[in-house]
Amino acid sequence: MNREEIPGKSPEEMYIQQKVRVLLMLKKMGSNLTPSEEAFLRNYAGVVHSQMSQLPQHNIDQGAEDVVMAFSRSEAEDRRQ
């Protein structure tokens, strides 16, 4: 395959970009990475740099949302004083 004539990525490129992206998202979500994953990110620093701006800005996993407690279900008899 003549790469100059065919623009696009090889499967390996795709794989690496995707892995960089997933690892960056994991870090953003607070998860740990293995030493080899950290090394992977260091190796492909260029890819990391360009991917950083593509990450979603919102928090992806903050756990369950707060929920109100409904107390006003019934009236209690009120002793007149």
């Binding site: 995707q18 997933v22 740990n32 360009s50 991917q51 407690m69 004083q81």
Partner: protein, 694 residues
């Protein structure tokens, strides 16, 4: 000394009683009104005539009495007895006189009250009013339906202020006894009195509201009659008056009418009742008024329509003003009302003072106070970062932990207290501070202990959520482990999962104590997920043979369960041994499916697990993962590819277009459908043309 007296059949007994015990003021000397008793019962006995003789001295007439001191004392005692007897007799005579007079006058007075001449009516009303001030005559009047009806008629037809005042006063006087209340009720007095609530005369207003109050308190059927006469619509505007005692009676009327009656509550709302009531709480100091008003607000606070109106009117702040006073009953009413309102007040501003007071109340030993304070704090910190920060900075964490420790098994306190701690430990600027504070105030063991049996599921749910947040702080991981959180969470997860599975086939929701078991599964897995960030915890979790269960949870129909299951597998897969075990459990298949989830968290965790378990796998497998990712997690993100490909280092050309499950003649570029690309990224070639060359 002889006296002829007119006594009731039990009159002799009454006289004797008075002789022995009568020390009060009959009014003969002072001119004071007769004392009216609410439940006085003099009966309707016949009158009889008796002649009695009373000896005033022990010595016969004409004999000289000894002049020593003992004789003087005796004389004094006898004189005093005579005096008391005289008073009693006069009292009886007056009573009888009043009764007789009234009885004779009733027909004539009735006629005069019905006269066409308003001057006549006015004078008659004055006379009747005088008569109602004495007990005997009042009794006679209330036993005459004709005269009461005439009074009612005169009151509602007159345009003369004095007549209105006198007739209102008559009804007011009659309303102090049940017979009188009944007479008013039967004579159609309620609609007439309700009309009087629009009177410009303060005295008429006072008589009308007080009479209605007595009717509402003691007359059966009065509430319905007042409602039918549009009494609420007339009473609510009276909240603008400024006399505290008048307002106290008015608010009490509103409470009597609205308790347990939804329609009445809506009428109060429609007439701006919440604003008027909140205004009173904000601006008055009279304790009884504040108490009666707080009772109305408490009744309205369970109404879904009134609740937001009270909150919007500033009800939370106004009620909060009265939590530090000396009136216990007022404080408690305000707390219950605030608790009822709190779920509608999560977005309210200006809660600073209230929150501070509530944190202070957490040191109380009164269980009702604790129940209310924790409940209000839990709701006011719900999804409100500002309030969370305020409470954290105000030592709320420490106070809540102490409340949990003191509450023991009182779930009405522990559940909201733990919920409040859960809120404080996430989604706010001071979340980390709160997470540290729980540990520093020795809260971790107490919180983990709440996971013990007997299980009260709402508390369990709150606690696992709190543990999950606490585990976000690395310094908390060891204390949580030392307190035994992991085995407790795993056991709860197993139990909840089994319960959910049992009912799963019948498609029923599994609720216990109002909590779905799927929520417990999600909560426990979520807590274990975060705890697994610690390597020692990770090993302990894996050693409990939990991986098969987590893989099974990937098939859950509940997105949240899938997310936390994929999350914990992602953490466990950091260890090679666990990664192999995850792969052996057949996790690849469900994980590939999860790549297509619309939930970013699920897809990301699934991708991460696949990357980790595919480390040792062949290139085919890795490409398949990549292709799946392209069609799932990154399907809407083509710009990223083009932008970064130029930044990537040069790859060795190892194109291999034929791999399992995909057509051999399809190049990699064909994996992206043209319509998925933005216009500027349309391929400039025909993919089939080039593929044929290889």
């Amino acid at each position: 000394m002889c006296s002829s007296v007119l006594v009731e059949s039990d009159g002799r007994m009454k006289v004797e009683e008075w002789q022995h015990s009568y020390h009060g003021d009959s009014g003969i000397q002072s001119g004071a009104n007769t004392v009216r008793e609410d439940d006085g019962d003099y009966g309707t006995s016949k009158y009889t005539t008796v002649t009695t003789t009373t000896v005033s001295s022990e010595y016969p007439e004409g004999t000289r009495q000894p002049s020593c001191a003992g004789n003087l004392d005796a004389q004094y005692t006898l004189t005093r007895a005579q005096r008391m007897l005289k008073v009693a007799i006069i009292h009886l005579i007056n009573y009888q006189d009043d009764a007789e007079l009234a009885t004779r006058a009733v027909p004539e007075l009735t006629k005069l009250l019905n006269d066409e001449d308003q001057v006549v009516v006015s004078k008659a009303a004055l006379i009747v009013n005088q008569l109602t001030r004495k007990e005997a005559s009042r009794r006679v009047l209330m036993q005459s339906p004709q005269v009461v009806a005439a009074v009612v008629r005169a009151m509602q037809n007159t345009s003369d202020m004095e007549t209105a005042r006198a007739t209102a006063s008559i009804l007011h006087n009659l309303s102090h006894q049940r017979e009188g209340l009944l007479a008013i009720f039967k004579s159609g007095g309620i609609p007439a009195l309700v009309r009087m609530l629009s009177s410009p005369m303060e005295s008429v207003l006072f008589y009308a509201i007080t009479t209605l109050h007595n009717l509402l308190l003691h007359q059966e059927g009065a509430k319905m009659a007042v409602r039918l006469a549009d009494g609420l619509q007339r009473m609510v505007p009276l909240l603008k008056k400024s006399n505290p005692k008048f307002l106290a009676i008015t608010t009490d009327c509103l409470q009597l009418l609205s308790y347990g009656n939804q329609e009445s509550k809506l009428i109060i709302l429609a007439n701006n009742g919440p604003e008027g009531l909140v205004h009173i709480m904000r601006n008055y100091n009279y304790e009884k008024l504040l108490w009666t008003t707080s009772r109305v607000l408490k009744v309205l606070s369970v109404c879904p329509s009134n609740k937001p109106a009270i909150v919007e009117a500033g009800g939370m702040q106004a009620l909060g003003k009265h939590l530090t006073g000396s009136s216990q009953r007022l404080m408690q009413n305000c707390l219950w009302t605030l608790r009822n309102l709190s779920d509608a007040a999560t977005k309210q501003e200006g809660m600073d003072g209230l929150l501070q007071v509530l944190v202070g109340l957490l040191s109380s030993d009164d269980v009702n106070m604790l129940t209310c304070a924790t409940g209000i704090l839990s709701n006011l910190t719900c999804n409100n970062a500002y309030n969370k920060t305020l409470v954290t900075q105000g030592n709320g964490v420490e106070a809540l932990i102490h409340a949990v420790l003191r509450a023991g098994e009182k779930e009405d306190v522990t559940e909201p207290a733990v919920c409040a701690l859960r809120h404080l430990t996430s989604r706010q600027q001071q979340a980390e501070t709160a997470q540290h504070a729980v540990r520093m105030h020795y809260g971790v063991p107490a919180i983990v202990k709440l996971l013990n049996q007997p299980y009260y599921w709402p508390v369990i749910k709150a606690v696992v959520g709190l543990i999950r947040n606490l585990a976000l702080c690395p310094e908390n991981q060891t204390p949580l482990r030392d307190a035994g959180a992991i085995p407790r969470l795993v056991n709860l997860l197993l139990k909840a999962h089994q319960d959910a599975q049992k009912r799963g086939s019948s498609n029923q929701q599994t609720y216990q104590d109002g909590v779905r078991m799927e929520e417990i599964v999600e909560g426990c897995t979520g807590a274990l997920h975060i705890m697994a960030r610690d390597p020692v915890n990770r090993g302990e979790i894996a050693n409990m043979q939990t991986i098969p269960l987590f893989v099974q949870l990937l098939y859950s129909p509940v997105d949240n369960v899938k997310r936390v299951a994929a999350g914990i597998l992602c953490e466990l897969a950091l260890d090679k041994q666990s990664a192999d075990l995850i792969d052996k459990e057949g996790a690849s298949s469900p994980l590939m499916e999860l790549l297509h989830s619309s939930n970013e968290g699920i897809a990301t965790y699934a991708a991460a697990v696949l990357f980790r378990i595919s480390e040792d796998k062949n290139t085919d497998y890795k490409k398949r993962v990549s292709v799946e990712l392209t069609h799932s997690l990154f399907r809407h993100d083509p710009a990223a590819w083009e932008r970064v490909s130029s930044a990537a280092p040069c790859w060795p050309p190892q194109l291999d277009v034929a791999y399992g499950g995909y057509p051999g003649d399809m190049g990699m570029d064909g994996m992206m459908e043209p319509e998925m690309l933005p216009e500027e990224y349309q391929p400039a070639y025909d993919r089939h043309q080039y593929a044929d060359q290889y």
